[in-house]
């Protein structure tokens, strides 16, 4: 009499492994993607001026634009990345060159730049930010302030390699 190669023991072991493997998370496809990149927002690039200078402060200051820059996937902070920003402020319209400036992220991937107070324009109190240095894919953001009276706006970038 021929015996089947599939004994009761192998059936249990294979069956058990098939059930347990997905439960460990090893087969989870999303794990490979990790932290998703920040998508460009509609209208984010409006009134953009390429190559705004890196400055210590835009105009007289009084308002803080802050945020972080991280790498998509593992979320590692990205130091030395140039972030550009512009807005309608108490000192000028979005189109004015003096409303634009840029700064670099520090060792922890954090940026902070003082600029004039943002005031509502075109119906909303909003700022514009860009990552456009080329090493990663270009991202244009147009975040809204929760209240027009806010004196700070925090914006987080997650960049994916170009």
């Amino acid at each position: 009499m021929k015996t089947s190669p599939m004994t009761r023991r192998t059936a249990l072991v294979l069956g058990g492994a098939a059930i347990l493997t997905p439960a460990t998370g090893l087969m989870h496809p999303a794990q490979a993607a990790g932290l998703a990149p920040t998508p460009t927002m509609r209208g984010g690039a409006n009134n953009y001026r390429p190559d705004a200078p890196i400055v210590d402060r835009i105009g007289g200051g009084g308002f803080w634009m802050t945020g972080t820059v991280r790498r998509a996937g593992d979320g590692a902070p990205l130091p030395g990345q140039r972030i550009q920003m512009w807005a309608h402020t108490t000192e000028g319209h979005e189109r004015d060159p003096h409303s634009h400036g840029a700064t670099l992220t520090d060792a922890n991937g954090v940026f902070r730049l003082e600029m004039p107070q943002i005031v509502p324009a075109f119906g909303q109190a909003h700022g514009h930010l860009a990552y456009d240095s080329g090493a990663f894919k270009t991202v244009f953001l147009r975040p809204l302030m929760a209240r027009p009276s806010d004196t700070t706006l925090n914006v987080d970038f997650v960049l994916e390699p170009a």
Binding site: M41, R42, G43, A45, N46, N47, H88, T89, T90, E91, H93, E94, R95, V119, P120, A121, F122, G123, Q124, A125, R142, P148
Partner: protein
Amino acid sequence: MNQPSRVKSALIWCAVVLAVLAPISLAATSPLLQWREPTYIAAGLAGVLGMTIMFMQPLLAIGALPGLSLQRSRYLHRYGGIALVLAVTVHVVGLWITSPPDVIDVLLFRSPTPFAIWGVLAMWAVFGAALLAILRFRLPLRVWRLGHTALVTLAVIGTGVHALQIIGTMEQVTKVTLSLLIGCTLFAAILRRKVWAMGVRSRRN
């Protein structure tokens, strides 16, 4: 004109003048204006002015204002329509000069701001209503009446939603009040138009 009716008509005119001047004067003294260039200021005020014209138009269409004959009211209604088209044009062109990419996004319906879509809708409705008025005598009567009424209703709804969602130069209380008044005067004018009632009656017979 006897004494009580004279008082009544004076009160009505006071209310109308207040409803027009309060939102305009408060918008004209908004703190936001100190950070805006003249073109942008003019564009914003043209929008407010357009809203006040929109409030007057139904009152003129039905001759509801005391001391003005229906004929005189209709005459002023036509000039009100021309003024409204001009106000909307100055509003859009002024904003375009101030920030071209924002207005292009709005006109192409790809703006991130929800109120912009309502504004564009109202603009085309105003232009459409004006076009029907120009073509009035070449159109079947029913097309003219229904078309003009439907388009101005769309314009009023679009303008109200547009204005209420904007953080801008208009003061909040006068903005809400004017938006409601525009809706109320249009609704009252539609109800007062006897042609609708006559139409219903003739269909019944």
